[in-house]
Structures are given as C-alpha cells and as structure tokens.
C-alpha cells in the first residue's frame, strides 16, 4: 500500500502485453544473426534468419510465451513482406537487360528448373513417407520466400513450413551450387548465376553476387522470374500435384 515500487512482474505483464516486446525480440535476434554473418565473411552456414529464428524460439521457450502471442506483436514485421515483394520489381527490371538474345534458353531453363524443384522435392518427400503438410510446403520452397509464403497461404499449405524449407533450400543451394556446377563443367558466369537463382532464390543470389557480378545479376533475374512464374503457375498445377 505504501509500497511504491513496481514489482518486476507488473513491468513484465505490461511489456508482454504490447507489440514492443515481440518487435524487440525479432529485431535484436536478427541483428545478432546479421553481425555474426558479416563476421564470418558471409559464410552461408552462418545464416542470419536461421540464427534469428533459433534465438527467438529459445526466448519464447524461456519466457513461456505462446507463439500466437509473439506473432501478434511481430506481425508488423511480417506485414512488410508484401511490400518487399512488390519492391522486387526493381531488381528484376534491372536484370531484364540481361535477357537480351537469351530469352529462349533462359525461359526454358527457368521452366525446367522450376518443375524439377517441385517434382523432385515432393517426389522424394512422398517416397520417404512425409505427411500432407510437409508435401504442401515443399511445393513452393524454391520460390523466393515472400512470394512462396503468399502462394502457400492461398493454397492452404503452411506458410510457416514453406518459409522454413525456403530458407534451408537457400542455405543448401548457396553451399552446394559451386560443387554441382563445377561437376557439370559449367563455366559461363551467366549460366552459373541463373542456375543458382532458380534453385536457391535470395540466399543463392547473394552468394552469386559475392562470387561474380554477372553471376549475381543473372541470379537475381532468375529469382525474380521464378517468383512470378511460381505465383502464376503453382496454383494452376496445384490441383495435379499432391493427389497422393
């Protein structure tokens, strides 16, 4: 009654009720991930998103905060995904000049690569007995995450699993691309870049930029075109895919 100091619990109740806590958690975790990524000379294994997710997950566990409550606050960050998707028009526009004289092979490779990513992922996962939710999330995982999540949402697949698979795909692609491409004897930078962009979207693209600017430009063109193709074609194909 005379006691004027605020008990720690009260502060806690106040903070956890506002979006601030979720926003601080999200941004701090990403910041830590980003600093580590930079320190590692952009090693694809030190992925800032993976680190951030791990840190946030541990914090939620420690604070005993349900995910739904966290998302209530973090949805402000989540909302910007749509805006970021629209702004992808700019890198795609910049890459369009790279299409000159190569429209046919690039589009053919894009369609072939896009189909391969869906068929191989869903096929292998199904063959090894994965359930429906996992199969659905495999469908758009090679499309850049913001678009993949939008597509998954519309088709009733889990946007969360899609995002997780997309991030893992990006990490794997950024690490493995070099070996696959060397193994196939691919030498032209534009071809190497485009292949990475189709398979491993944003992370592959940033990897490609760090290796060679021409590879980076083509990777970002591939990522953008795959995003558009995925958004248009996957809903049309969806009726045929997971009918297992």
């Amino acid at each position: 009654m005379v006691n004027k100091r605020l008990p720690i619990q009260e502060i806690w109740v106040y903070l956890s009720g506002s979006p601030l806590l979720a926003l601080i958690l999200t941004l701090t975790a990403y910041q830590i991930g980003h600093v580590l990524y930079m320190r590692s000379q952009r090693n694809p294994l030190v992925n800032p998103v993976a680190i951030a997710v791990l840190l946030v997950a541990v914090c939620l566990e420690v604070l005993d905060m349900p995910y739904a409550k966290y998302f209530e606050g973090a949805q402000f960050v989540h909302f910007l995904l749509g805006t970021a998707t629209v702004s992808l028009a700019i890198p795609i526009y910049r890459g369009l000049s790279g299409l000159k004289g190569r429209v046919f092979p690039l589009l053919l490779a894009l369609v072939a690569g896009g189909l391969t990513s869906i068929i191989s992922a869903v096929g292998i996962a199904h063959w090894l007995g994965a359930d429906q939710a996992i199969l659905g999330a495999m469908v758009s995982k090679s499309v850049t995450a913001p678009i993949a999540m939008g597509v998954a949402e519309r088709l009733g697949y889990s946007p969360t699993l899609t995002a997780v698979f997309a991030v893992i795909t990006g990490i794997l692609g950024a690490i493995l691309a070099r070996f696959v491409l060397n193994g196939l004897g691919m030498k032209a930078w534009w071809q190497r870049g485009f292949a990475i962009g189709v398979a491993a979207h944003g992370l592959g693209t940033s990897r490609a930029f760090s290796v060679h600017p021409e590879a980076g430009t083509y990777a970002s063109l591939a990522m953008g075109l795959h995003g558009i193709l995925g958004a248009v074609a996957i809903p049309m194909l969806a009726g045929y895919i997971p009918t297992f």
Binding site: S117, A125, I134, S142, M186, A199
Partner: protein
C-alpha cells in the same frame, strides 16, 4: 525515400485490388510487382527514391520472414518424425534443380561456349 515507399505501397494496394477482383489465385503483392515492373519498363528508369527503398528491403529481406519462420516451433514433433524425408527432399531437390537448370542452359542457348 518516403516518395518511393508511398509509390510502392500504392502499387501494392493496386495489386491487392486487381488480385481480389480479377486474379484471386495470385497473391496481391505479386500482381503489384508485375504491374510495377511494367511501369518501370515503360518509364525506362527507376526513380531514386524507389531504388533506396528496394535496396533496403532486398538487403534485409530475411528479417521479414523471421516471425513466420519462428512458427516452426509448432511443427517440431512433425518435422522430427519425418526428419529424413525433409532433409533428403530438400537436399536432393536443390542439387537436381541446379543441375537441370544449368544443363538446359548449356544445351539450349547461344553463347553456350562460355567464358
């Protein structure tokens, strides 16, 4: 920066409307993306203020999917149960996708001789 952000938000809004009324199976932001891209092709240049916003987004795109990706904690039991299927599907798929895309480019195009 603000004029660029306003324009991008307006394109997003237009995309949402078109998607809602005409193309219900394509996400609104993707429709906005395509419309903005056509606009840029017609204009033949990217306004500076828009470039600033776009560069900021693409540099830290990853941040934006942290909230959704953290939802993976709800799926942990399911993922653990199918861990092998998930790992091998992702691994196999990314290798095959890179290989197929690269091989098609190698055999389908001009300039395939490389540099």
């Amino acid at each position: 920066m603000i004029p660029g952000l306003v324009q991008i938000l307006l394109w997003q809004g237009a995309g949402e409307l078109v998607s809602h009324f005409f193309l219900p199976h394509i996400p609104g932001p993707v429709v906005g993306l395509v419309m903005l891209m056509c606009y840029l092709v017609v204009r033949d240049r990217v306004p500076d203020s828009m470039a600033v916003v776009s560069d900021a987004f693409s540099q830290h795109l990853g941040l934006l999917f942290v909230p959704a990706a953290t939802g993976v904690i709800l799926f942990l039991p399911q993922l653990r149960q199918h861990a092998w299927a998930v790992v091998l599907a992702l691994l196999g798929s990314v290798i095959l996708t890179i290989a197929v895309t690269a091989l098609v480019l190698k055999f389908a195009g001009p300039g395939a001789d490389g540099e």
